[in-house]
Protein backbone atom coordinates (compact mmCIF):
# COMPACT_ATOMS: atom_id res chain seq x y z
CA UNK A 1 0.00 0.00 0.00
CA UNK A 2 1.38 3.41 -0.92
CA UNK A 3 1.49 6.17 1.64
CA UNK A 4 -1.28 8.16 -0.02
CA UNK A 5 -3.56 5.15 0.08
CA UNK A 6 -2.79 4.62 3.74
CA UNK A 7 -3.72 8.20 4.47
CA UNK A 8 -7.02 8.12 2.65
CA UNK A 9 -8.00 4.85 4.30
CA UNK A 10 -7.61 6.27 7.78
CA UNK A 11 -9.28 3.39 9.54
CA UNK A 12 -9.08 -0.19 8.51
CA UNK A 13 -10.89 -3.01 10.26
CA UNK A 14 -9.96 -6.36 8.78
CA UNK A 15 -11.65 -9.62 9.58
CA UNK A 16 -12.43 -8.49 13.14
CA UNK A 17 -13.75 -11.30 15.28
CA UNK A 18 -14.60 -11.45 18.96
CA UNK A 19 -16.48 -13.94 21.11
CA UNK A 20 -17.49 -13.81 24.74
CA UNK A 21 -17.84 -17.40 25.82
CA UNK A 22 -20.37 -18.96 23.46
CA UNK A 23 -21.59 -15.63 22.16
CA UNK A 24 -20.04 -14.51 18.90
CA UNK A 25 -20.25 -10.76 19.38
CA UNK A 26 -18.43 -9.76 16.20
CA UNK A 27 -17.89 -12.05 13.23
CA UNK A 28 -15.28 -11.22 10.57
CA UNK A 29 -16.11 -7.57 10.17
CA UNK A 30 -14.34 -5.66 7.39
CA UNK A 31 -14.77 -1.91 7.24
CA UNK A 32 -12.57 0.70 5.59
CA UNK A 33 -13.21 4.27 6.66
CA UNK A 34 -11.75 7.23 4.80
CA UNK A 35 -10.45 10.39 6.42
CA UNK A 36 -13.17 13.00 6.80
CA UNK A 37 -16.00 10.51 6.55
CA UNK A 38 -18.89 10.46 9.00
CA UNK A 39 -19.89 6.87 9.36
CA UNK A 40 -22.81 5.41 11.27
CA UNK A 41 -22.68 1.92 12.70
CA UNK A 42 -26.35 1.10 12.68
CA UNK A 43 -27.88 -1.93 14.28
CA UNK A 44 -30.20 -3.18 17.00
CA UNK A 45 -28.97 -3.95 20.51
CA UNK A 46 -26.60 -6.88 20.51
CA UNK A 47 -25.54 -6.32 16.90
CA UNK A 48 -21.89 -6.01 17.94
CA UNK A 49 -21.55 -2.26 17.54
CA UNK A 50 -20.06 -1.58 20.97
CA UNK A 51 -17.66 -4.51 20.73
CA UNK A 52 -16.52 -3.28 17.32
CA UNK A 53 -15.98 0.20 18.76
CA UNK A 54 -14.08 -1.19 21.75
CA UNK A 55 -11.76 -3.06 19.41
CA UNK A 56 -11.33 0.03 17.26
CA UNK A 57 -10.21 1.98 20.33
CA UNK A 58 -7.94 -0.76 21.61
CA UNK A 59 -10.08 -1.36 24.70
CA UNK A 60 -10.80 -4.93 23.70
CA UNK A 61 -8.39 -7.27 22.00
CA UNK A 62 -9.89 -9.05 18.98
CA UNK A 63 -9.78 -12.84 18.84
CA UNK A 64 -8.80 -12.51 15.20
CA UNK A 65 -8.31 -9.76 12.67
CA UNK A 66 -6.78 -6.35 13.03
CA UNK A 67 -7.44 -2.64 13.41
CA UNK A 68 -5.30 0.07 11.85
CA UNK A 69 -5.86 3.72 12.72
CA UNK A 70 -3.94 6.22 10.57
CA UNK A 71 -1.38 3.57 9.77
CA UNK A 72 -0.71 2.50 13.35
CA UNK A 73 -2.19 0.31 16.04
CA UNK A 74 -5.09 1.64 18.15
CA UNK A 75 -2.78 1.86 21.17
CA UNK A 76 -0.25 4.03 19.32
CA UNK A 77 -2.94 6.23 17.78
CA UNK A 78 -4.48 6.74 21.23
CA UNK A 79 -1.06 7.55 22.69
CA UNK A 80 -0.48 10.13 19.96
CA UNK A 81 -3.77 11.81 20.83
CA UNK A 82 -5.28 11.11 17.41
CA UNK A 83 -8.33 9.43 18.86
CA UNK A 84 -11.11 10.66 21.11
CA UNK A 85 -14.27 9.01 22.16
CA UNK A 86 -17.48 8.97 24.00
CA UNK A 87 -18.22 5.58 25.48
CA UNK A 88 -21.57 4.26 26.52
CA UNK A 89 -20.72 3.73 30.15
CA UNK A 90 -20.50 5.98 32.93
CA UNK A 91 -21.19 8.84 35.16
CA UNK A 92 -18.43 11.29 35.92
CA UNK A 93 -15.95 11.20 38.71
CA UNK A 94 -16.74 12.89 41.97
CA UNK A 95 -15.17 15.88 43.62
CA UNK A 96 -14.47 17.69 40.38
CA UNK A 97 -16.47 20.37 38.67
CA UNK A 98 -17.43 20.12 35.02
CA UNK A 99 -14.92 22.80 34.08
CA UNK A 100 -12.10 21.06 35.97
CA UNK A 101 -12.94 17.75 34.38
CA UNK A 102 -12.90 19.15 30.85
CA UNK A 103 -9.69 21.06 31.58
CA UNK A 104 -8.05 17.93 32.91
CA UNK A 105 -8.93 15.90 29.83
CA UNK A 106 -7.86 18.75 27.55
CA UNK A 107 -4.44 18.76 29.23
CA UNK A 108 -3.86 15.17 28.13
CA UNK A 109 -4.11 15.95 24.40
CA UNK A 110 -1.51 17.60 22.15
CA UNK A 111 -3.86 20.08 20.42
CA UNK A 112 -7.00 20.53 22.48
CA UNK A 113 -9.71 23.07 21.80
CA UNK A 114 -10.19 25.96 24.23
CA UNK A 115 -12.16 24.72 27.25
CA UNK A 116 -14.28 27.86 27.27
CA UNK A 117 -15.40 27.28 23.66
CA UNK A 118 -16.21 23.64 24.24
CA UNK A 119 -18.31 24.47 27.31
CA UNK A 120 -20.23 26.98 25.21
CA UNK A 121 -20.77 24.65 22.24
CA UNK A 122 -22.00 21.84 24.47
CA UNK A 123 -24.07 24.26 26.57
CA UNK A 124 -22.44 23.12 29.75
CA UNK A 125 -21.26 26.61 30.76
CA UNK A 126 -24.26 27.22 32.99
CA UNK A 127 -23.41 24.29 35.26
CA UNK A 128 -19.64 24.29 34.66
CA UNK A 129 -18.87 24.85 38.34
CA UNK A 130 -21.11 22.12 39.65
CA UNK A 131 -19.49 18.84 40.75
CA UNK A 132 -19.98 15.85 38.48
CA UNK A 133 -22.12 13.92 40.93
CA UNK A 134 -24.78 16.63 41.08
CA UNK A 135 -25.75 16.54 37.41
CA UNK A 136 -28.82 15.06 35.74
CA UNK A 137 -28.51 12.31 33.14
CA UNK A 138 -28.86 14.72 30.25
CA UNK A 139 -26.33 17.13 31.75
CA UNK A 140 -23.87 14.29 32.32
CA UNK A 141 -24.20 13.28 28.69
CA UNK A 142 -23.45 16.84 27.60
CA UNK A 143 -20.32 16.84 29.75
CA UNK A 144 -19.21 13.55 28.22
CA UNK A 145 -19.72 15.16 24.85
CA UNK A 146 -17.54 18.09 25.99
CA UNK A 147 -14.86 15.63 27.11
CA UNK A 148 -14.86 13.98 23.68
CA UNK A 149 -14.89 17.27 21.79
CA UNK A 150 -12.18 19.10 23.74
CA UNK A 151 -9.58 16.54 22.64
CA UNK A 152 -10.16 17.62 19.03
CA UNK A 153 -8.86 14.30 17.70
CA UNK A 154 -8.59 13.26 14.06
CA UNK A 155 -10.94 10.38 14.75
CA UNK A 156 -13.92 10.80 17.02
CA UNK A 157 -15.66 7.59 18.05
CA UNK A 158 -19.08 7.85 19.67
CA UNK A 159 -20.96 4.92 21.12
CA UNK A 160 -24.68 5.75 21.14
CA UNK A 161 -23.90 9.38 21.84
CA UNK A 162 -27.45 10.70 22.04
CA UNK A 163 -28.90 7.92 24.17
CA UNK A 164 -29.54 10.01 27.29
CA UNK A 165 -30.26 13.29 25.54
CA UNK A 166 -33.58 15.05 25.07
CA UNK A 167 -34.62 16.53 21.73
CA UNK A 168 -32.81 19.79 22.33
CA UNK A 169 -29.72 17.94 23.50
CA UNK A 170 -29.70 15.85 20.35
CA UNK A 171 -29.97 18.93 18.19
CA UNK A 172 -27.08 20.62 20.02
CA UNK A 173 -25.06 17.49 19.78
CA UNK A 174 -25.42 17.15 16.03
CA UNK A 175 -24.83 20.85 15.46
CA UNK A 176 -21.51 20.45 17.26
CA UNK A 177 -20.72 17.29 15.32
CA UNK A 178 -21.40 18.93 11.97
CA UNK A 179 -18.83 21.55 12.90
CA UNK A 180 -16.32 18.82 13.72
CA UNK A 181 -17.01 17.05 10.44
CA UNK A 182 -16.70 20.32 8.54
CA UNK A 183 -13.14 20.62 9.81
CA UNK A 184 -12.28 17.37 8.06
CA UNK A 185 -12.34 15.11 11.11
CA UNK A 186 -13.42 11.51 10.84
CA UNK A 187 -16.46 10.57 12.91
CA UNK A 188 -17.73 7.09 13.65
CA UNK A 189 -20.90 6.76 15.69
CA UNK A 190 -23.02 3.84 16.77
CA UNK A 191 -26.75 4.21 16.86
CA UNK A 192 -29.90 2.19 16.64
CA UNK A 193 -31.92 5.00 15.10
CA UNK A 194 -32.17 4.81 11.34
CA UNK A 195 -33.31 8.45 11.22
CA UNK A 196 -30.20 9.58 13.07
CA UNK A 197 -27.88 7.59 10.85
CA UNK A 198 -29.71 8.83 7.77
CA UNK A 199 -29.63 12.48 8.82
CA UNK A 200 -26.01 12.77 9.92
CA UNK A 201 -23.88 10.07 8.27
CA UNK A 202 -22.26 10.06 4.85
CA UNK A 203 -22.30 6.34 5.00
CA UNK A 204 -24.08 3.67 6.99
CA UNK A 205 -22.68 0.32 7.96
CA UNK A 206 -25.52 -1.90 9.00
CA UNK A 207 -24.69 -4.54 11.58
CA UNK A 208 -26.77 -7.43 12.84
CA UNK A 209 -25.70 -10.37 14.95
CA UNK A 210 -22.05 -9.43 14.80
CA UNK A 211 -21.90 -9.10 11.04
CA UNK A 212 -21.90 -6.29 8.52
CA UNK A 213 -25.08 -6.89 6.53
CA UNK A 214 -25.04 -3.76 4.41
CA UNK A 215 -22.63 -0.92 3.76
CA UNK A 216 -23.39 2.12 1.67
CA UNK A 217 -24.83 5.63 1.45
CA UNK A 218 -27.91 6.32 3.61
CA UNK A 219 -30.33 6.29 0.65
CA UNK A 220 -29.24 2.80 -0.28
CA UNK A 221 -29.50 1.49 3.27
CA UNK A 222 -32.85 3.12 3.77
CA UNK A 223 -34.21 1.38 0.71
CA UNK A 224 -33.00 -1.91 2.14
CA UNK A 225 -34.41 -1.57 5.63
CA UNK A 226 -37.25 0.76 4.79
CA UNK A 227 -40.06 -1.77 5.21
CA UNK A 228 -43.32 -0.05 6.05
CA UNK A 229 -46.64 -0.79 7.63
CA UNK A 230 -50.06 0.59 6.80
CA UNK A 231 -52.58 0.64 9.57
CA UNK A 232 -56.22 1.28 8.84
CA UNK A 233 -59.60 0.87 10.48
CA UNK A 234 -61.35 -1.48 8.10
CA UNK A 235 -63.89 -3.87 9.61
CA UNK A 236 -65.55 -6.68 7.75
CA UNK A 237 -62.83 -7.26 5.15
CA UNK A 238 -61.21 -10.62 4.72
CA UNK A 239 -57.51 -10.87 5.48
CA UNK A 240 -57.04 -12.98 2.39
CA UNK A 241 -58.49 -10.24 0.24
CA UNK A 242 -55.99 -7.80 1.70
CA UNK A 243 -52.97 -10.04 1.11
CA UNK A 244 -53.99 -10.11 -2.53
CA UNK A 245 -53.15 -6.41 -2.82
CA UNK A 246 -49.87 -6.16 -4.68
CA UNK A 247 -46.95 -5.07 -2.52
CA UNK A 248 -48.48 -6.37 0.71
CA UNK A 249 -46.38 -9.03 2.34
CA UNK A 250 -48.37 -9.67 5.47
CA UNK A 251 -51.69 -8.82 7.06
CA UNK A 252 -52.59 -8.77 10.69
CA UNK A 253 -56.01 -8.01 12.14
CA UNK A 254 -56.42 -6.27 15.48
CA UNK A 255 -60.10 -5.86 16.17
CA UNK A 256 -61.46 -3.36 13.71
CA UNK A 257 -57.99 -2.38 12.54
CA UNK A 258 -55.73 -4.12 10.06
CA UNK A 259 -51.98 -3.81 9.74
CA UNK A 260 -50.47 -4.40 6.32
CA UNK A 261 -46.72 -4.91 6.03
CA UNK A 262 -44.92 -4.00 2.81
CA UNK A 263 -41.36 -4.76 1.75
CA UNK A 264 -40.33 -1.29 0.75
CA UNK A 265 -41.40 2.29 0.47
CA UNK A 266 -42.43 2.15 -3.24
CA UNK A 267 -44.41 -1.04 -2.80
CA UNK A 268 -46.14 0.58 0.14
CA UNK A 269 -47.18 3.55 -1.96
CA UNK A 270 -48.74 1.23 -4.53
CA UNK A 271 -50.44 -0.86 -1.89
CA UNK A 272 -51.91 2.20 -0.23
CA UNK A 273 -53.39 3.44 -3.52
CA UNK A 274 -54.89 0.07 -4.26
CA UNK A 275 -56.26 -0.26 -0.73
CA UNK A 276 -58.08 3.06 -0.99
CA UNK A 277 -59.44 2.28 -4.45
CA UNK A 278 -60.78 -1.08 -3.37
CA UNK A 279 -61.99 -0.02 0.06
CA UNK A 280 -62.89 3.66 0.09
CA UNK A 281 -64.32 3.15 3.59
CA UNK A 282 -60.87 2.58 5.10
CA UNK A 283 -60.15 5.27 7.68
CA UNK A 284 -57.64 6.30 10.42
CA UNK A 285 -54.85 5.60 7.96
CA UNK A 286 -51.33 5.45 9.37
CA UNK A 287 -48.14 4.67 7.45
CA UNK A 288 -44.92 4.13 9.31
CA UNK A 289 -41.48 2.60 8.93
CA UNK A 290 -41.24 -0.91 10.29
CA UNK A 291 -39.14 -1.44 13.40
CA UNK A 292 -35.46 -1.54 12.65
CA UNK A 293 -35.11 -4.81 14.47
CA UNK A 294 -37.69 -6.47 12.17
CA UNK A 295 -36.00 -4.99 9.14
CA UNK A 296 -32.65 -6.40 10.22
CA UNK A 297 -34.12 -9.80 10.79
CA UNK A 298 -35.67 -9.77 7.34
CA UNK A 299 -32.38 -8.68 5.86
CA UNK A 300 -30.19 -11.21 7.63
CA UNK A 301 -32.67 -14.05 7.87
CA UNK A 302 -32.75 -16.40 10.83
CA UNK A 303 -32.06 -19.47 8.73
CA UNK A 304 -28.85 -18.07 7.45
CA UNK A 305 -27.47 -17.75 10.92
CA UNK A 306 -28.57 -21.19 11.99
CA UNK A 307 -26.65 -22.63 9.08
CA UNK A 308 -23.55 -20.72 9.99
CA UNK A 309 -23.70 -21.69 13.61
CA UNK A 310 -24.07 -25.33 12.67
CA UNK A 311 -21.17 -24.97 10.30
CA UNK A 312 -19.02 -23.44 13.01
CA UNK A 313 -19.63 -26.38 15.27
Amino acid sequence: MTSSETRSASIQLSNLTKSYGDVQAVRSVDITIHAGETLALLGPNGAGKSTTIDMMLGLTRPDAGSVTLFGSSPADAVKAGEVGGMLQTGTLIQFMSVRELVTMVASLYPHPLAVKDVLRITRTSEFADRPGKKLSGGQTQRVRMAIALVADPDLLVLDEPTAALDVEGRRDFWTAMREVAARGKTIVFATHYLEEADAYADRIVLMARGRVVADGPPTEIKAKVGGRTIRATLPDVDEEALVAISGVANVERRGEAVILTCDSSPSCDGALRELLTRYPGARDLEVRGAGLEEAFLNLTGDQDDLHDDAGAL
Binding site: L59, T60, K79, Q94, M96, L108, P110
Partner: protein
Protein backbone atom coordinates in the same frame (compact mmCIF):
# COMPACT_ATOMS: atom_id res chain seq x y z
CA UNK B 1 3.80 18.62 31.50
CA UNK B 2 0.55 16.89 30.49
CA UNK B 3 0.80 14.47 33.37
CA UNK B 4 1.47 17.37 35.68
CA UNK B 5 -1.93 18.97 35.09
CA UNK B 6 -3.51 15.57 35.57
CA UNK B 7 -1.64 15.15 38.85
CA UNK B 8 -2.72 18.58 40.04
CA UNK B 9 -6.38 17.67 39.57
CA UNK B 10 -5.85 14.28 41.15
CA UNK B 11 -4.46 15.97 44.28
CA UNK B 12 -7.35 18.40 44.28
CA UNK B 13 -9.87 15.58 44.14
CA UNK B 14 -8.15 13.83 47.01
CA UNK B 15 -8.17 16.92 49.17
CA UNK B 16 -11.90 17.34 48.64
CA UNK B 17 -12.66 13.81 49.75
CA UNK B 18 -13.86 13.99 53.34
CA UNK B 19 -13.43 10.30 53.99
CA UNK B 20 -9.68 10.78 53.73
CA UNK B 21 -9.82 13.51 56.28
CA UNK B 22 -11.77 11.42 58.76
CA UNK B 23 -9.88 8.16 58.56
CA UNK B 24 -6.40 9.44 57.86
CA UNK B 25 -6.33 12.49 60.10
CA UNK B 26 -9.14 12.83 62.61
CA UNK B 27 -9.51 9.27 63.95
CA UNK B 28 -5.78 8.73 64.55
CA UNK B 29 -5.50 12.17 66.13
CA UNK B 30 -8.35 11.60 68.56
CA UNK B 31 -7.01 8.19 69.54
CA UNK B 32 -3.53 9.58 70.04
CA UNK B 33 -4.73 12.41 72.27
CA UNK B 34 -6.94 10.02 74.25
CA UNK B 35 -4.15 7.50 74.88
CA UNK B 36 -1.04 9.66 75.12
CA UNK B 37 -2.62 12.71 76.78
CA UNK B 38 -3.14 11.16 80.21
CA UNK B 39 0.08 9.08 80.00
CA UNK B 40 2.70 11.66 79.12
CA UNK B 41 5.42 10.13 81.25
CA UNK B 42 4.63 6.49 80.74
CA UNK B 43 6.89 4.07 78.91
CA UNK B 44 5.84 1.71 76.12
CA UNK B 45 8.03 -0.85 74.36
CA UNK B 46 11.12 0.73 75.87
CA UNK B 47 10.43 4.25 74.63
CA UNK B 48 8.23 7.10 75.83
CA UNK B 49 4.54 6.27 75.41
CA UNK B 50 3.70 9.47 73.51
CA UNK B 51 6.47 8.74 70.97
CA UNK B 52 5.28 5.15 70.57
CA UNK B 53 1.67 6.12 69.98
CA UNK B 54 2.56 9.12 67.87
CA UNK B 55 4.34 6.80 65.43
CA UNK B 56 1.64 4.16 65.77
CA UNK B 57 -1.14 6.54 64.91
CA UNK B 58 0.90 8.18 62.13
CA UNK B 59 1.44 4.69 60.71
CA UNK B 60 -2.26 3.86 60.91
CA UNK B 61 -3.41 7.15 59.38
CA UNK B 62 -0.83 7.21 56.61
CA UNK B 63 -1.47 3.54 55.78
CA UNK B 64 -5.12 4.43 55.41
CA UNK B 65 -4.22 7.35 53.16
CA UNK B 66 -2.08 5.43 50.70
CA UNK B 67 -4.31 2.37 50.59
CA UNK B 68 -7.50 4.38 50.02
CA UNK B 69 -5.91 6.43 47.29
CA UNK B 70 -5.17 3.41 45.14
CA UNK B 71 -8.39 1.69 46.09
CA UNK B 72 -10.39 4.58 44.61
CA UNK B 73 -9.60 2.97 41.26
CA UNK B 74 -12.46 0.59 42.09
CA UNK B 75 -14.92 3.48 41.92
CA UNK B 76 -13.43 4.77 38.69
CA UNK B 77 -13.62 1.33 37.18
CA UNK B 78 -17.25 0.93 38.18
CA UNK B 79 -18.43 4.13 36.50
CA UNK B 80 -16.35 3.46 33.39
CA UNK B 81 -13.97 6.33 34.00
CA UNK B 82 -10.88 4.13 33.65
CA UNK B 83 -12.07 3.12 30.18
CA UNK B 84 -12.45 6.78 29.28
CA UNK B 85 -8.91 7.43 30.54
CA UNK B 86 -7.58 4.47 28.55
CA UNK B 87 -8.61 6.14 25.31
CA UNK B 88 -6.69 9.32 26.18
CA UNK B 89 -2.92 9.68 25.73
CA UNK B 90 -2.48 9.41 29.53
CA UNK B 91 -0.06 6.57 30.17
CA UNK B 92 -1.14 3.89 32.65
CA UNK B 93 2.06 4.56 34.58
CA UNK B 94 1.11 8.23 34.95
CA UNK B 95 -2.38 7.24 36.03
CA UNK B 96 -1.01 4.98 38.77
CA UNK B 97 1.73 7.42 39.79
CA UNK B 98 -0.89 10.10 40.34
CA UNK B 99 -2.80 7.74 42.63
CA UNK B 100 0.34 6.91 44.61
CA UNK B 101 1.47 10.52 44.86
CA UNK B 102 -1.90 11.76 46.05
CA UNK B 103 -1.92 8.98 48.63
CA UNK B 104 1.52 10.09 49.82
CA UNK B 105 0.39 13.68 49.98
CA UNK B 106 -2.39 12.71 52.37
CA UNK B 107 0.02 10.47 54.27
CA UNK B 108 2.33 13.46 54.76
CA UNK B 109 -0.58 15.45 56.14
CA UNK B 110 -1.39 12.67 58.52
CA UNK B 111 2.23 12.34 59.68
CA UNK B 112 2.59 16.13 60.05
CA UNK B 113 -0.56 16.39 62.16
CA UNK B 114 0.57 13.54 64.42
CA UNK B 115 4.04 15.04 64.77
CA UNK B 116 2.52 18.37 65.71
CA UNK B 117 0.21 16.77 68.25
CA UNK B 118 3.13 14.71 69.56
CA UNK B 119 5.34 17.70 70.12
CA UNK B 120 2.52 19.44 72.00
CA UNK B 121 2.15 16.47 74.32
CA UNK B 122 5.87 16.36 74.90
CA UNK B 123 7.58 14.22 72.28
CA UNK B 124 11.09 15.59 71.93
CA UNK B 125 13.26 14.51 68.99
CA UNK B 126 16.13 16.30 67.33
CA UNK B 127 15.97 17.23 63.66
CA UNK B 128 17.83 14.15 62.49
CA UNK B 129 15.52 11.88 64.46
CA UNK B 130 12.39 13.58 63.08
CA UNK B 131 13.70 13.26 59.53
CA UNK B 132 14.76 9.65 60.05
CA UNK B 133 11.32 8.78 61.38
CA UNK B 134 9.69 10.51 58.42
CA UNK B 135 11.99 8.75 55.96
CA UNK B 136 11.31 5.32 57.45
CA UNK B 137 7.56 5.94 57.41
CA UNK B 138 7.64 6.98 53.77
CA UNK B 139 9.65 3.92 52.76
CA UNK B 140 7.50 1.64 54.89
CA UNK B 141 4.36 2.90 53.14
CA UNK B 142 5.46 1.67 49.70
CA UNK B 143 3.92 -1.81 49.97
CA UNK B 144 0.68 -0.29 51.25
CA UNK B 145 0.45 2.08 48.30
CA UNK B 146 0.79 -0.91 45.98
CA UNK B 147 -1.76 -2.82 48.06
CA UNK B 148 -4.23 0.01 47.47
CA UNK B 149 -3.85 -0.25 43.70
CA UNK B 150 -4.27 -4.00 43.90
CA UNK B 151 -7.48 -3.63 45.94
CA UNK B 152 -8.71 -1.07 43.44
CA UNK B 153 -8.78 -3.82 40.83
CA UNK B 154 -10.23 -6.53 43.04
CA UNK B 155 -12.81 -4.91 45.26
CA UNK B 156 -16.22 -3.54 44.28
CA UNK B 157 -17.34 -0.12 45.38
CA UNK B 158 -19.87 -1.61 47.79
CA UNK B 159 -17.26 -3.56 49.71
CA UNK B 160 -14.51 -0.96 49.37
CA UNK B 161 -15.15 0.86 52.66
CA UNK B 162 -15.34 -2.18 54.95
CA UNK B 163 -12.43 -3.88 53.17
CA UNK B 164 -10.08 -0.96 53.51
CA UNK B 165 -11.21 -0.09 57.03
CA UNK B 166 -10.99 -3.69 58.22
CA UNK B 167 -7.74 -4.54 56.51
CA UNK B 168 -5.96 -1.36 57.55
CA UNK B 169 -7.08 -1.68 61.15
CA UNK B 170 -6.08 -5.34 61.28
CA UNK B 171 -2.64 -4.65 59.83
CA UNK B 172 -2.23 -1.69 62.18
CA UNK B 173 -3.34 -3.74 65.16
CA UNK B 174 -1.00 -6.65 64.37
CA UNK B 175 1.80 -4.20 63.69
CA UNK B 176 1.33 -2.75 67.17
CA UNK B 177 -0.09 0.65 66.22
CA UNK B 178 -2.55 0.45 69.13
CA UNK B 179 0.09 -0.83 71.55
CA UNK B 180 2.55 -3.72 71.21
CA UNK B 181 0.60 -6.90 70.61
CA UNK B 182 3.31 -9.32 71.62
CA UNK B 183 6.81 -8.77 72.93
CA UNK B 184 8.38 -12.20 72.47
CA UNK B 185 7.93 -15.70 71.22
CA UNK B 186 6.75 -17.23 67.97
CA UNK B 187 3.98 -14.67 67.52
CA UNK B 188 6.51 -11.85 67.50
CA UNK B 189 8.47 -13.68 64.82
CA UNK B 190 5.34 -13.72 62.66
CA UNK B 191 4.39 -10.13 63.41
CA UNK B 192 7.89 -9.02 62.41
CA UNK B 193 7.15 -10.30 58.89
CA UNK B 194 4.48 -7.63 58.45
CA UNK B 195 5.38 -4.28 56.91
CA UNK B 196 3.02 -2.55 59.36
CA UNK B 197 5.17 -3.73 62.27
CA UNK B 198 8.16 -1.89 60.86
CA UNK B 199 6.07 1.13 60.09
CA UNK B 200 5.10 1.36 63.75
CA UNK B 201 8.73 0.79 64.74
CA UNK B 202 9.82 3.86 62.75
CA UNK B 203 9.65 6.01 65.90
CA UNK B 204 11.73 3.71 68.02
CA UNK B 205 14.19 3.10 65.20
CA UNK B 206 14.58 6.83 64.65
CA UNK B 207 15.99 7.20 68.14
CA UNK B 208 19.10 5.62 66.67
CA UNK B 209 21.30 3.42 68.72
CA UNK B 210 20.75 0.14 66.96
CA UNK B 211 21.05 1.99 63.66
CA UNK B 212 17.71 2.80 62.13
CA UNK B 213 15.93 -0.37 60.90
CA UNK B 214 17.53 -3.81 61.11
CA UNK B 215 18.20 -5.62 57.83
CA UNK B 216 15.05 -7.70 58.36
CA UNK B 217 12.88 -4.58 58.09
CA UNK B 218 14.28 -3.62 54.69
CA UNK B 219 13.87 -7.16 53.43
CA UNK B 220 10.27 -7.43 54.67
CA UNK B 221 9.34 -4.13 53.02
CA UNK B 222 11.09 -5.08 49.77
CA UNK B 223 9.55 -8.55 49.55
CA UNK B 224 6.03 -7.30 50.24
CA UNK B 225 6.49 -4.57 47.66
CA UNK B 226 7.69 -6.97 44.97
CA UNK B 227 4.98 -9.55 45.65
CA UNK B 228 2.15 -7.01 45.78
CA UNK B 229 3.42 -5.31 42.63
CA UNK B 230 3.38 -8.60 40.78
CA UNK B 231 -0.14 -9.36 41.88
CA UNK B 232 -1.23 -5.83 40.96
CA UNK B 233 0.22 -6.11 37.47
CA UNK B 234 -1.61 -9.39 37.03
CA UNK B 235 -5.00 -8.10 38.20
CA UNK B 236 -4.56 -4.97 36.10
CA UNK B 237 -3.87 -7.02 32.99
CA UNK B 238 -6.80 -9.29 33.68
CA UNK B 239 -9.04 -6.29 34.21
CA UNK B 240 -8.03 -4.47 31.03
CA UNK B 241 -8.07 -7.45 28.71
CA UNK B 242 -11.40 -8.88 29.78
CA UNK B 243 -13.87 -6.21 28.75
Amino acid sequence: MRSFTYLRFELLRTLRNRRFLIFSLIFPLILFLAIAGPNKNAVEDGISLPLYFMTGMAAWGSMNAVISSGARIAAERQVGWTRQMRITPLKPSAYFSAKILSGYMMALFSIAVMAFAGSIIGVRLDATQWLTMLGLLLVGLIPFAVLGIMLGHLVTVDTLGPTIGGLTSLLALLGGAFGPLVSSGALLTIVRLLPSYWLVQAGKSALGGAGVWPAQAWIVIAVWTVVLTRVSVRVYKRDTSRV
